[in-house]
């Protein structure tokens, strides 16, 4: 195993792979740093480029985006107080507070090194656990997969901040999208309304690209002409020099906590459908509970930054485990990566690591190497990153939408995908305006066909419906789905009760 990894690491140094990896990491950092451009958006823009590359080159670029994006978000989060990506929200709490206290350099590098170390701990898990988990995943029959998908949907619907009901409706609407077109078993036409291109069904990638790209771009367009906020502040000169040894020591002098936060990140990453924002938020909350001085959290305590960033970064490793062992995308970013794998003819799933060992270890190597690259790039260009925030939007947005169009078209080489892109662009924007969360919707679209096909397979294999409950793994997964749903309800009730009490006074 280690020989394979060493070989892969050596191979990754070849310019053929190093260039896409570095380019991806840079794109990720920039995209992550740009407020309003998420990692998902960045990876969508990178997707069409990977079509023409060899599979490992394309994946190296995407892994770079993923790692760079999780780190890039922290630059704007700490220095400007604006999370560049949702996963950096928890970093703003203490990071920006510390920066405002006059220690922007320390705050920034605490974040970067925590991200680096958390990511490497995530790598240990990624390399060690993918194989065994893949062997475990082979036990999964249609019943288990069905239950796993139900668990994923119920978790993501329960995690939304607005209202559980709206989260559920959004998730169900995602499933409705996959019902349109044809049935996945016999390809029989259904609900096509006589529209020819719907007969093949709706691919999830154009939907995902449309929903995310348009909802973000249009929300920015909406605000254009208003006062430019971030750009002006970015020009301010900041003293970022800092003693790296001291900062690193500050992090590693409490190894148990670092490992614990990274573990939280990895775990949340492995669970399908829960992204980096939940990981960093949860780790930050944990750090606060474990601390002897919980009152310092939110005022610029280093521990808060370390917790949030190490968890956020390790989360990426966890998500990669899930797509590589189970072939299930944990979030929109990994869904796009899975799409890229499929384009290159690689079927992710329990057999992936055994059949494509070189590629799997190449992905591990890319993940590991992306971290030093990320640190080097931030060391060289953290300040320049702030200037990127002021790229003219009138140039950026049309170019982004053109890349989305190329990505959607090239997926299946058909214009139908571009029309789907537009329709769901409008739908996604409308959903955001109506206050429906996009994450459960997208997950519904990603998993819909798989849920149906596994349900049908289960019934075709054995007509007994109780097998969903009596098969141990499947039963456990369904119980977990119920439990997570109940927990979400309870949590919401508590928050509401607190809000009501506050209103009474």
């Amino acid at each position: 195993m280690f020989e394979l990894l060493l070989d892969a690491l050596q191979g990754m140094f070849a310019p053929k792979y190093l260039v896409p990896l570095a380019a991806g990491t840079l794109a990720g950092i920039v995209g992550g740093a740009l407020p309003g451009v998420t990692i998902t958006m960045t990876i969508i823009v990178v997707l069409p480029f990977t079509f023409g590359l060899d599979p490992l080159q394309g994946l190296a670029a995407m892994v770079g985006v993923y790692v760079g994006g999780s780190a890039g978000g922290l630059v704007t989060a700490i220095l400007l107080g604006i999370p560049g990506t949702p996963s950096a929200i928890a970093t703003t709490f203490d990071g920006h507070a510390l920066a405002r206290k006059g220690e922007p350099g320390r705050a920034l590098w605490l974040g970067i090194w925590a991200s680096f170390l958390g990511g490497l701990l995530g790598a240990v898990f990624l390399v060690g656990a993918t194989g065994p988990l893949a062997r475990f995943a082979l036990q999964f029959g249609p019943w288990e997969f069905f239950s796993l998908f139900v668990l994923a949907l119920s978790m993501v619907a329960g995690l939304v901040e607005a209202s559980i009901l709206k989260g559920l409706v959004a998730g169900m609407l995602g499933l409705v999208v996959t019902v349109i077109g044809n049935d996945p078993v016999m390809g029989q036409e259904r609900l096509t309304f006589g529209i020819a291109f719907l007969r093949g069904g709706i691919d999830f990638l154009p939907v995902l690209i449309g929903v995310f790209a348009f909802s973000q771009v249009m929300q920015e367009v909406e605000r254009m002409g208003g006062p430019a906020q971030a750009a002006a502040r970015a020009q301010r000169a900041l003293a970022l020099a800092v003693s790296h040894a001291k900062v690193i020591w500050e992090i590693v002098s409490r190894p148990v906590r670092l490992v614990w936060f990274s573990f939280i990140g990895v775990l949340i990453g492995v669970l399908p459908a829960i992204g980096g924002s939940a990981a960093s938020m949860f780790a930050w909350d944990q750090a606060k509970r474990l601390s002897r001085h919980p009152e310092r959290f939110g005022t610029g305590t280093p521990e808060g930054i370390v917790a949030s960033e190490s968890a956020n970064s390790a989360n990426v490793g966890g998500s990669l485990v899930t797509i590589m062992a189970f072939g299930i995308p944990g979030d929109a970013v990994t869904a796009v990566m899975l799409g890229a794998l499929t384009i290159h003819g690689i079927q992710s799933g329990p057999l992936f690591i055994a059949q494509n060992a070189a590629l799997a270890y190449g992905i591990f190597a890319a993940y590991i190497l992306a971290h030093p690259l990320m640190v080097a790039m931030l060391a060289l260009g953290a300040r320049a990153m702030l200037r990127v925030v002021s790229v003219p939007r009138a140039v950026l947005f049309p170019a982004v939408l053109v890349l989305c169009t190329v990505g959607a078209y090239a997926l299946n080489n058909t214009m139908a995908n571009v029309y789907v892109l537009l329709v769901f662009g409008v739908a996604g924007y409308a959903m955001v305006k109506a206050g429906f969360p996009l994450a459960p919707f997208i997950l519904g679209v990603i998993l819909g066909d798989q849920i149906e096909i596994n349900l049908v397979r289960a019934i075709m294999t054995d007509a007994n419906p109780w097998l969903f409950v009596t098969r141990p793994i499947s039963g456990l997964l369904l119980a977990a789905a119920l439990a997570s749903f109940a927990a979400a309800l309870w949590q919401h009730r508590r928050v509401q009760a607190r809000a009501a009490r506050a209103a009474d006074f």
Partner: protein, 313 residues
Amino acid sequence: MTRIALTLVLALAAPLCALAQYPDRPIKLIVPWPAGGDTDNIFRPFAPLLQKQLGQPVVIANVAGASGTRGAKEAKEAPADGYTLYAVHDYIHSTYYTGIADVQYTDFEPICLIASTPSVLTASPKTPWKDWQGLLADAKARPGQITVGATLGSTSHFFPALIEKAAGIKFKYVSYEGLAPRMNAILGGHVDLTDANLTQKAKVEAGELKFIAIATEKRHPEMPNVPTLKELGVNVVYDVNRGLMVPKGTPAAVIARLEAACGAAAREPAFAEAMRKQGTDVRFMDRATYAAWLRQNDELTRNLARDLGLLKR
């Protein structure tokens, strides 16, 4: 700066000036299945060889979905100028007769046949049978309970259905579209049997899978210890044949150019070597032979579909 701009203008305008000497721009080869499937694996090594003959890039475009019929439709509607090729296999007949698609082989002009992949009846390692006799006895004892993973209405469904008929047994079909999901299911023991091919040889040698029998006339040199269905008394010979077609109405000169290029590419030793790795035999037919063979195969599939009770037309 001006020079860069000029180069850009020229690059954009170049195809307008160059007058038709086919082919003068990249050619799209539609593979109607996802990348990484058998068809894709066979045409991917073929594309660069064809490219060498034609002098223009041959780019594979996977237009997957709806049991391969989405790509078929896309290819049928493409302009008949020779810049869109269509990688086809026997499913074109079966999806038409089982009513899954409206596209049939007569919507295209055949170019050549290049490869033939024999089917192998493959069993999960978790099944108790050691050989065909064991399977047969069990199938007789438990009719309709042995599960087979298949793409319904396509070749992986026809093959076990033929065995059912020839041996007088009954299977239960579970829908698993594509070889990769079928392999996951069969390795995990979630289905008992499936139609596979010699690409799975390594797993059989590692003891993770069992080849029950191969559907060739004679034992295959790659796996001489696997019996043929014929010698086991089951009169089934089945393989999947893959070729190239273009939309109807393509100019004769273009077709001739493509046919010549295809013939030369299929005879390359590199192609034979690539096919050996795919558990596939090179089987070249020129345009005329292929057209006659297609007519015959279409009739055969129609009869099969009728015998199996799947005929919808």
